[in-house]
Amino acid sequence: MPMSNNKTLIIIAREYVTRVRKKSFIILTILMPILIAALIALPALLVLRSEQKQHTRVLVVDDTEIFINGFENNDNVTYSYASGNIEQLKQDAFDSEQYDCVFHILDNSAGLRSNLYYKKHIPSNLQSRLEGQMDEIFFNRMLMDSLHIEPDRFAKLQELTKSSVTTIQVDDQGVERENIAEMNEVIGMVCGFFIYFIIIIFASQVLRGVLEEKTNRIVEVLISSVKPMQLLTGKIVGIALVGITQFLIWGVLTFGLVSVAGLFVKGDILPAEVTEMAAEGGTMGAVPGTEISIFQQISDFFPFSFTQLILSFLFFFVVGYLIYATLYAATGSVIDNESDSQQYTLPVTIPLMLAIILIPSIATNPSGQLAFWFSMIPLTSPIIMMVRLPAGVPLWQLLTSMGVAVLFLLFCIWFAAKIYRVGILMYGKKPSWREILRWLREA
C-alpha cells in the first residue's frame, strides 16, 4: 500500500532528523574521530620525540677485556671503549658531556659484575639491552675459544644456524597462508567490540525511543494514524540510519585526521612502532593504529578474504542490531516508567555482557568449543563470530551461524510485534512475565 509505505517513510524521517540534529549527536560525531586520531597520533609523536632526542652514547670501561668492541652500535646507542681509572674516566665523561653514561665491567673472580653510571637519564631498555648483549658476547667468546674457530668463520656459522619460525595456516581447501596469530586476535577483537558498541549505543536507543513515546502518552495518538508495526519499523530503521551516518562520518573524519597526522609525523616510524605496540598491547587505545598501518598488507595475512570479512561484518552489524533493536523495543513497550526498566532490560543485556566478557578468551582460542557454541547462539553470535572470523572459520560454520541468526531475527520480529502491540497501550501497571506470555498466545 503506497499510503502505508509513505507513512513509514515519514516516521523514519522524523526519527532520523530529530536525532541527527541533537547537540549530543553532533558533539559525539566530531569529538570521536579527534579522540581516535589523538590516540593514534599521540604515542607516535611521543615515540618520534624520544627517537630524536635519545641518542645514547655509552663509554664502556671493560676491565675484563672480553667485551671490547663487542657491543653492536645502532640508531639509538653508540658504544665507545676506554680503559684506565674508572673514577677519572667517569668524571671526564660527564664533565665534557661527551658521553651519557659510563658502563664499567669489573674484573672479578666471583663472577661478571658491572655498573652503569649515568647523570641525566637513560633509555628504559638500555639495562636489559646491555645484559642481553653481554650474555651473547660472553657465550660466543666461550664457544669460539673451546671450538678454536676464527672469528670470521664463527660469524658465518652463526648466520647459517640462525633459527626463525614462520606460522602457516592451512584452510579447508588446503591453501596455505603465512599468518600472524597476534594480528588475527587484534582484528577479531576490534570487530567484536565494534559490533558490541553498535548494539549498545543504537539498539538501546530503540528502547529509549519506545519508552519515550509510551511515557509521553503520544503513542495512542500515533497509532490512531499508523499501524504499530509501521511505527516500530520507522523507529528501528530511522535509528539504524543515524548509526550508519555516524559511522560514515567517523570513518571519513578519522581517516582524514590520521592522514594529516601521518603527514605531520612522516617517515615510517609511525606505522612500525605503533603496529608493534598494538600487537603487543592489544589494548583498545592502540588498536585503531593497527588498522591503518597494516591496511595494505592486511589481505595477505588473512586466511579469510578481506571482502568476505567486510561482508560478514555488514551482515552481523545489520542482523545483530535488528535482533537487539526488536528485543529492546518489546522491552520498552512493557515498561511504564524509566525506573522499572532495569528489571526488564536485564534478560536482554545479559547475553551482551556475556559476549563482551568472552571476547578476549575467544580471540586467543578462536576455534575452541567455547568459541564454536557462542558463535552459533544467535544472541552472542554477531559479536563472537566476528571475533573468530579473522583467524579463519570453516564456511559451514559461518553459514550456519548466519542462518541461525536470521531465523532467530524472524522469531524476534514476531515476538516483538506481539508484545509491542499490546504493551504500548498498557498504562500504569507492570505486567508480570506470565501476563506477557499470555499476550504472545493471544494477540
Binding site: 500500500m1 499510503m3 502505508s4 507513512k7 515519514i10 516516521i11 522524523r14 530529530t18 519515550e212 513515546e213 509521553n216 502518552r217 503520544i218 495512542e220 495518538v221 500515533l222 497509532i223 490512531s224 494514524s225 499508523v226 499501524k227 497501550l425 498504562y427 501476563e435 499470555r438 499476550w439 493471544e442
Partner: protein, 313 residues
C-alpha cells in the same frame, strides 16, 4: 443516516470481558455522549472505532461500509492518555502528526499557521513542547486532532487539563465543528458538559450498553413527576395543601420568593396542583424538574450492578 453502527461487538481480554455484544449507532451530525463508569469498556470501544484494537466478534460500519484502514483519514481522535514529544518544536510536531494523517506538508503548514493564530499560540510555533503551559499543549493537541478536517471526531475526556476559560473555548469549538457538519463522540465524566452539548448518549456499564438514545427522551423517560413551584412569599395554606394532597419534598426560601419541590403522585395531574394553589397565592413560576444526567447515570449504574450481582449469585 448513521455515520457509525456498532453491531454486537464483543472483545475479550485474557482475564476479563471488555465488551459484551455491544451495539449502538451514531447519527450523522450529532454530538454523542459515551458515558460509563471507569473500566466499563468505553476506552476499548473507542480503540475499536479507531482500529487500534479489533473486536473478537461483531462488526463496525463506518458510513455504511465495514470500517477499513483508510478511514482513519476521516477520523479525528483525542485519546484520554495523550501527549506530545516534549523536545520537539510545537509547529514541527503538529506538521508531523498531520502528515501521518495523510495531509501533505505544505497544506499542513498553511492550515496549522492559521489554527495556531486562531488559538493564540502562534508565538510558540518554534518552541519545544516542554516550554509550553499545559493549556497551550492541550491546544496544540486539539488542533492536531481536527486539522485533517475529520467528519467524525472521537474526544475522550477532552476537557481535562483545561481551565474554565479554555473549557468554554473548547466547547464552542466542538459546537462549531458540529455546525460545520462533523459528528462527534464525546466520552466524559463531566455530566454538566454532557447536558450542555450532547444530543444523544449511550451508557456503558460492565461491558454492556445499558442505555441509549436522545438526551431529552432519556431524561423524560426517567422523570419522576417532580415539579418546582415558586411563590412570592411563604403561604401556610399552600404548605398545608401540598402536604395533604401531594408530596412536599423541600421548601427553600429565596431572597424575594419561596420555592417548593413537589412530587405529584400517580393519578394526580400538574393542573390539579396549579388549580389548587391558585386559590391561595400568586404563582411566580411552575415547571417540571427532569432528572439530571448525573442522577440518571448513578441510578442506572447502581440498579444494573445490583441486578447483575443477583445474576451472579
Amino acid at each position: 443516516m448513521n455515520i457509525i453502527e456498532v453491531h454486537e461487538v464483543t472483545k475479550r481480554y485474557s482475564n476479563h470481558l471488555a465488551l459484551d455484544r455491544v451495539s449502538l449507532s451514531v447519527r450523522e451530525g450529532v454530538i454523542f455522549g459515551l458515558l460509563g463508569p471507569n473500566g466499563a469498556g468505553k476506552t476499548t470501544l473507542i480503540r475499536i472505532l479507531n482500529q487500534i484494537t479489533f473486536p473478537d466478534s461483531g462488526i463496525v460500519y463506518f458510513k455504511g461500509h465495514p470500517l477499513k484502514e483508510d478511514d482513519v483519514r476521516q477520523i479525528g481522535y483525542l485519546p484520554e492518555e495523550r501527549g506530545l514529544y516534549k523536545k520537539m518544536k510545537a509547529g514541527e510536531q503538529a506538521i508531523y502528526l498531520a502528515q501521518l494523517k495523510g495531509i501533505d506538508r505544505d497544506t499542513a503548514f498553511k492550515r496549522l499557521r492559521e489554527k495556531f493564530r486562531q488559538y493564540d499560540i502562534l508565538d510558540w510555533w518554534n518552541r519545544p513542547i516542554e516550554e509550553l503551559s499545559k493549556g497551550m499543549q492541550q491546544k496544540v493537541q486539539f488542533i492536531t486532532t481536527i486539522l485533517h478536517k475529520p467528519s467524525f471526531l472521537i474526544l475522550d475526556e477532552p476537557f481535562s487539563g483545561f481551565d474554565p476559560i479554555n473549557t468554554n473555548l473548547l466547547k464552542e469549538e466542538i459546537l462549531n465543528l458540529k455546525k460545520e457538519g462533523a459528528t462527534i463522540i464525546l466520552s466524559t465524566h463531566n455530566m454538566a458538559s454532557v447536558e450542555e452539548i450532547c444530543d444523544e448518549i449511550a451508557l456503558i456499564n460492565q461491558s454492556r450498553k445499558i442505555l441509549e438514545g436522545n438526551l431529552y427522551d432519556i431524561k423524560t423517560q426517567f422523570k419522576k413527576n417532580i415539579f418546582s413551584l415558586e411563590l412570592k412569599e411563604e403561604n401556610a395554606g399552600v404548605t398545608q395543601l401540598l402536604n395533604e394532597h401531594f408530596e412536599l419534598l423541600e421548601s427553600t426560601a429565596l431572597p424575594h420568593s419561596i420555592q417548593y419541590r413537589i412530587h405529584i403522585p400517580d393519578g394526580k395531574r400538574a393542573n390539579d396542583l396549579i388549580a389548587a394553589v391558585m386559590q391561595h397565592a400568586d404563582i411566580l413560576s411552575f415547571n417540571e424538574i427532569l432528572p439530571s444526567m448525573n442522577e440518571i447515570f448513578i441510578e442506572q449504574v447502581e440498579t444494573f450492578n445490583q441486578a447483575h450481582a443477583h445474576e451472579q449469585q
